[in-house]
């Protein structure tokens, strides 16, 4: 396993007046799955296209396996791409689509045949080889697109929103299926997505992008529980945010005044600074026992939403204000009603604080 298999260093890309990539660096190990996560316009697709060779960065270098590919054109890079909506060739059959890359490399039809068959078997599409691609369902089209990209044994696989064309249920199945398939092949893969759940499911590490830069690059668990910034917090998962003022700070612990009361968080900010304090909804408990390790607050129930596997309770602050808390329970206690005032709490260590 090579730790620095794909390396992007100091990449800049501008389109006219707009800077889309800003001194961006990224390093991916061999066999690793990395997601580029961010809203549209954050530069994730541009980065993907730069790695594929469909765009060239204005500055910076891209290497794969130690080989500098910055100056190579797309067709010289041997980088596989699964496009958004797949970009299958409608004038060719499934098998011809898969054979396309082999034929473009000058491999004869006879030699290509067994490799196409192998690729079809890999994605379990053996019986569909002679069909036109337009006759396939969305999930089948995705498999053909993956087979087409993999059959040439690329050094790297790039996937641009590969699940966005599928409906929700199918998407969840295909995410797991594709992940297993790519593990089996042992390829290095970069996913571009704007769906944070998808990024958490499919990747070893997630790079959250913002305005042409990587804001945080880490494993999904750390990303969820220790987001590096408010931006990352907002983008990954749900959370309750309370604005407040730091009252005191000592030994890496701050006390913050919020609309719901005073609470503590592991951070060190100057007293008097404005902060946002955030908690994940599932980290909260209702009516906790008194415990020094907990922040305990009170609020009034404004809404109870039953979501099936869990229930969300919305709480208003006792004092006037916009701030609300969302609390998530897997089981709803009996006798809870809107308008009721309740106490709730969460571990101090689960409390995240950011400068506002």
């Amino acid at each position: 396993m090579q730790p620095d298999y794909l390396v992007v260093s100091g990449a800049d890309k501008r389109f006219g007046a707009a800077t889309v990539l800003r001194d961006l660096s990224l390093s991916v190990a061999q066999g690793e799955f990395v997601s580029l996560l961010g809203p549209s316009g954050c530069g994730k697709t541009t980065l993907l296209r730069c790695i594929a060779g469909l765009l060239h960065p204005d500055r910076g270098r891209i290497t794969v396996g130690g080989r500098d590919i910055t100056a190579l054109a797309a067709h010289q890079r041997n980088v596989g791409v699964v496009f958004q909506n797949y970009a299958l060739f409608p004038h060719l059959t499934v098998a011809e689509n898969i054979a396309f890359g082999l034929r473009a490399r000058g491999i004869s039809k006879a030699e290509a045949g067994p490799r196409v068959a192998e690729a079809l078997a890999l994605v379990r599409m053996e019986v569909h080889g002679d069909k036109p691609v337009t006759a396939l369902s969305g999930g089948q089209q995705q498999r053909v697109a993956v087979a087409r990209a993999l059959v040439v044994r690329p050094s790297l696989l790039l996937l641009d929103e590969p699940f966005s064309a599928l409906d929700r249920k199918l998407r969840e199945t295909m995410q797991v299926e594709l992940k297993q398939l790519l593990r089996e092949v042992g390829i290095t893969a970069i996913f571009v997505t704007h769906d944070q759940e998808e990024a958490l499911v499919v990747s070893d590490r997630v790079a959250v992008m913002n305005a042409g830069q990587i804001e945080q690059l880490t494993d999904p668990v750390t990303l969820y529980h220790a987001p590096a910034s408010l931006y990352v917090l907002d983008f990954v998962g749900q959370s309750t945010k309370l604005s407040g003022k730091v009252l005191s700070s000592s030994d890496g612990m701050i006390e913050v005044q919020t609309a719901f009361g005073v609470l503590r968080a592991p951070a060190s900010f100057m007293p008097g600074s404005s902060v946002a304090v955030a908690v994940r909804p599932e980290a909260m408990v209702l009516a906790p026992e008194a415990d020094a390790a907990l922040n305990t607050l009170r609020g009034q129930i404004s809404d109870i939403s039953f979501l099936g596997s869990r229930t969300q309770i919305h709480l208003n602050a006792p004092a006037e204000g916009e701030d609300r808390v969302i609390l998530e329970l897997s089981r709803l206690p009996a006798g809870l009603a809107t308008g009721q005032e309740v106490s709730f709490g969460f571990r101090v260590t689960d409390t995240m604080a950011f400068l506002a």
């Binding site: 594929a52 054109a73 797309a74 067709h75 041997n78 791409v81 970009a87 473009a104 087409r148 990209a149």
Partner: protein, 263 residues
């Protein structure tokens, strides 16, 4: 009431088709007559008028010239028009819509006006070569047909396919050839067919540009009709009709006739 409306529209369609086909169909029996006139019903049966086609002065050479001009002008329009359409669809050209309208506008202009303008310009430039004048004038005639159909099929084309081909190992020009061209072929075929017919049939522009030795088929036919009308014309017309049917059949096989309904 409902049934009455249906009956009425069906009758109108029947009438329309009969009316449209009448002058075309009537030519066929007349071409087999023995008499040297167009009388109906035709007398007897003979192929003599088909045999005489070869003997009519300038008819075959006019046919050759028309085919040549139509094919060349269509080819040039295909090249220039496709490049222009790609630029309009992909080039983020400011005022792309105005450019498209300009390229299609010869279609909306009376043919005679175009012919007169060309004639004047050629005279001003001292250009007296009829063949060359005809060729460039016919490129103007054919351009709108190509632009319209190629623009329409290009705007439906997913250019990610070109990127896909490139990442699979095709250079940019090869990707265009392997992926773009086959996918917009129906647009090419129907555009080229219409362009070819428009050029092949053109009278009002050509009439100002021909000279004594360089005459296109419609000009020559009309001349002949005015000078010595006999069933040879019916024979030529019959052959032209058969050729048209054959070409339409071919196009239907290739791209489907109804895709061409946007005239």
């Amino acid at each position: 009431m409902e049934r009455f409306a249906k009956g009425l529209t069906s009758f109108a369609l029947f009438l329309t088709i009969a009316f449209l086909l009448l002058p075309i169909v009537v030519v066929i029996p007349v071409s087999f007559t023995e008499a040297p006139i167009f009388a109906f019903p035709p007398e007897g049966f003979s192929l003599q008028w088909y045999g005489r086609i070869r003997n009519v002065d300038g008819l075959l050479s006019a046919l050759g010239l028309s085919a040549q001009i139509a094919a060349l002008s269509t080819a040039i329009s295909l090249l220039l028009g496709t490049l222009c359409a790609i630029a309009l669809v992909r080039g983020r050209l400011p005022g792309a819509e105005a450019v498209a309208t300009f390229m299609v506008s010869p279609l909306m202009l009376p043919g005679l006006v175009l012919g007169i303008a060309m004639l004047q310009a050629m005279r001003e430039l001292g250009l007296r070569d009829a063949w060359f004048s005809l060729l460039i004038a016919h490129v103007v005639i054919t351009m709108p047909f190509i632009m319209r159909t190629v623009l329409a099929s290009l705007s439906l084309f997913d250019f990610a396919m070109v990127d896909a081909a490139r990442t699979l190992g095709c250079s940019y020009p090869l990707a265009i050839w392997r992926v773009l061209v086959p996918n917009i072929l129906p647009g090419f075929v129907s555009g080229a067919l219409f362009a070819f017919i428009a050029s092949f049939d053109n009278y009002p522009v050509s009439m100002f540009l021909v000279d004594v030795r360089t005459k296109t088929l419609p000009i020559q036919l009309l001349n002949y009709l005015e000078i010595s009308p006999d069933p040879t014309l019916a024979a030529v017309s019959t052959l032209l009709i058969l050729l048209t049917i054959f070409v339409l059949f071919l196009c239907d096989r290739m791209v489907g006739l109804r895709r061409m309904s946007s005239i």
